[in-house]
């Protein structure tokens, strides 16, 4: 066990899985020198046929992994920013996601599309957007959003061993700032199991990825005034651990959903719909979302921070439900 950063945990998962299975290879832009350090050192360890740096050609990357998976490999592609995936949408959505179904089940496509979302680094709008809802909308893709370094390692290993296309979304701020205890031994975390980050009886806060940190901060502040929040991290959106979320709401009777993605048609909308359908009679107040207020992410630091949900906003939302 060692305390490591999110990026180190991801590096551990890649290193271990590449050593474990020679069919696993990495492909992406600048992955030899690794802009954010996730693939650092892997080229030296595994060589140029396992760590393949590409031209700036996202569609080629997204399609090449599908072809490589078709002939028996287990590729892990990196899209440096989630916004860059927009250049590869045909290959991800029309090809990788649908092939198995279109082919009557014959294709087995173990592909991981790693990418980075989240806001807070002054990268401005074309390098900042959380688009998990787009991919969650498409049948055939699993969606993973790790929150802790421990989860990042275990979930990335599960993703690499999964026989389906997985969109593995990392958070740009968390790479360096999130650090926790991570075993140096092999372990995996199953998909579809939410993590209860904090137990409480008065309100449920469902938070995606880094928003768990915000939610926990809000929970502490609420606790000081006697409101105990339960914070739930779904960890994977597809599959979704609806049982844990609905079970919590049935207990607390109130729910706030927090994500960095835009509020309109964000994943929170799906969560609200599911919660209302499965826990309608238990709700004492309408479900509320705290999210990006439907704006492109501004460059200016102050404006950018205003576009990201804050603990204060979560506290305010909860207090609104408690009236």
């Amino acid at each position: 066990m060692a305390v490591v950063t999110m990026s180190q945990a991801l590096n551990m998962a890649l290193t271990e899985e590449m050593a474990r299975d020679e069919r696993v290879f990495l492909i992406g832009e600048d992955i030899k020198d690794s802009t954010y350090g996730i693939t650092k050192g892997l080229w030296d360890t595994f060589g140029p046929k396992r760590v393949i740096g590409t031209p700036i050609s996202e569609a080629a990357i997204a399609g090449a992994v599908l072809g490589a998976a078709s002939v028996g490999l287990r590729p892990v592609a990196e899209f440096m920013y989630m916004t860059f995936m927009m250049c590869a949408m045909d290959q991800v959505v029309n090809q990788a996601a649908k092939s198995k179904y279109m082919f009557g089940g014959k294709a087995v496509l173990p592909i991981v599309y790693r990418t980075m979302a989240g806001a807070g680094r002054a990268n401005a709008a074309q390098h900042t957007q959380s688009l998990e809802a787009w991919f969650a909308h498409v049948p055939g893709l699993k969606i993973v959003m790790p929150t802790t370094a421990y989860d990042a390692k275990g979930l990335l290993k599960t993703s690499i061993r999964d026989d389906n296309p997985v969109i593995f979304i990392e958070n740009k701020v968390q790479y360096a700032t999130t650090r926790d205890e991570v075993p140096t031994t092999d372990y995996t975390i199953p998909f579809g199991q939410a993590a209860i980050r904090r137990t409480g009886k008065d309100v449920t806060i469902v938070a995606l990825q880094r928003m768990n940190e915000i939610a926990l901060e809000a929970a502490e502040e609420l606790s000081a005034s006697g409101i105990e929040a339960e914070v739930i991290d779904p960890r994977t959106l597809v599959p979704l651990d609806l049982e844990s979320i609905v079970g919590s709401v049935r207990k607390t009777h109130r729910v706030v959903i927090v994500h960095e993605a835009h509020e309109r048609v964000g994943f929170g909308a799906e969560l609200v719909a599911q919660i209302v359908q499965h826990a309608f009679d238990y709700l004492d107040a309408p479900p509320v979302r705290v999210a990006n207020p439907n704006v492109p992410t501004p460059f200016n630091r102050t404006l950018e921070q205003l576009s990201i949900p804050s603990a204060a906003q979560v506290v305010q939302a909860v207090r609104g439900l408690m009236r």
């Binding site: 031209p55 080629a60 014959k106 389906n164």
Partner: protein
């Protein structure tokens, strides 16, 4: 001072001359040649049946016929070996048959039947059979280029001697995927052969409007790979060029871009009113560029088959197509319960492990 680089003086040109003076059968035995004729005829008759069935409303959906282009798929796939793979297009029946897929399960797939290659979930535009090295027809123009490049990448990583062949049309050569895929493949010298079936029209629009240059093959220059032009109706020309490209690919010399000048005798899709070309143009192509007629004559000229031999093959293929249609029509519809299967491997439609 600016330097002008001529785009033309590089190695773009016909592989064997557009009208060879003497027939070159390459390394093909008599039985190989007859086998190729049989494959071409199988494609032709399969699609003629498909057209009939479609017009009689016994078959539905979006269907794009390959009639007139049969020599490209047949000649190219004949140059492949065990473990090689292809990616195909929306006009994919010919590529499927050339890779050895059977007409019965293909017909069943076009009818949406459970006995089809994709159990009725794909239809004409998505037939795939991994067992045959057929990675999939494709409804998105140009999408197969990165995918076949990826298959070649897989062979390169595993240091296998296999190759991938990517079929696409002239329209696809204007997609971004064309540039990204070929550029990436060329950079790593991946074992992939890009075969552009230039049939003169991207859907309804003439290639003359779409391409600012005369030949798609010229674009090979910008990737530093050979660009080769063949006459798509001449199966021996196609075979020779692809065989050489396969040899290069297996030797680690990287991709080749082959442009087959061809012509589709039917519309873009079944039901296409074809306002963009004249009947005379189509009739002229049918009269002078029919790959089946040309190859039939060549076989007789080479003394490989007599007119009677060919007649016998025609009768056999007709019977095969009768059986394919009967197989498709007598096959069951998929049960409603399969709607939600096959989305994930090892998981239900929600992604939950089952």
């Amino acid at each position: 001072m600016a330097t002008i680089v001529s785009p033309i003086e590089h190695a773009v040109g016909p592989a064997h001359g557009s009208s060879p003076t003497a027939l070159d059968r390459h390394d093909l035995s008599d039985s190989d040649l007859i086998d190729m004729y049989r494959t071409m005829l199988r494609i032709r008759r399969f699609e003629e049946r498909v057209k009939e069935l479609f017009l009689e409303a016994r078959l539905y959906g979006s269907v794009h016929l390959y009639i007139g282009e049969e020599a490209v798929a047949t000649g190219a796939c004949k140059a492949l070996g065990e473990g090689d793979v292809i990616s195909s297009t929306h006009r994919g029946h010919g590529h499927c048959i050339a890779m050895g897929l059977e007409s019965g399960p293909m017909m069943a797939e076009l009818m949406g039947k459970v006995t089809g290659y994709n159990h009725g979930k794909g239809g004409s535009m998505h037939i795939a059979s991994m067992d045959h090295g057929m990675l999939g027809a494709n409804g998105i123009v140009g999408a197969g280029i990165p995918i076949s490049t990826g298959a070649a990448l897989g062979f390169w990583i595993q240091e296998k001697a296999n190759v991938a062949v990517c079929f696409f049309g002239d329209g696809a050569s204007n997609q971004g995927a064309f540039h990204e895929g070929i550029n990436f493949a060329a950079g790593l010298k991946l074992p992939v052969i890009f075969i552009c079936e230039n049939n003169g029209y991207a859907q309804f629009q003439s290639v003359k409007q779409d391409l600012p240059i005369e030949h798609v093959a010229t674009r090979a220059i910008s990737y530093g790979i050979p660009g080769v032009i063949v006459q798509g109706e001449d199966i021996l020309d196609v075979y020779g060029a692809v065989k050489e490209a396969v040899r290069r690919a297996r030797a680690g010399d990287g991709p080749t871009l082959i442009e087959a000048k061809t012509y589709r005798f039917e519309g873009h899709f079944l039901g296409d009113p074809e306002p963009y070309r004249t009947r005379e143009e189509v009739a002229a192509a049918r009269a002078t560029r029919d790959p089946l007629k040309i190859f039939g004559a060549q076989l007789q000229e080479m003394g490989v088959a007599s007119a009677d031999d060919l007649k016998r093959i025609h009768a056999q293929i007709d019977e095969e197509m009768d059986r394919a249609v009967a197989f498709g029509e007598s096959s069951p519809e998929p049960a409603g319960s399969v709607l939600l299967t096959d989305i994930f491997t090892g998981a239900d439609e929600h992604g939950r492990i089952v």
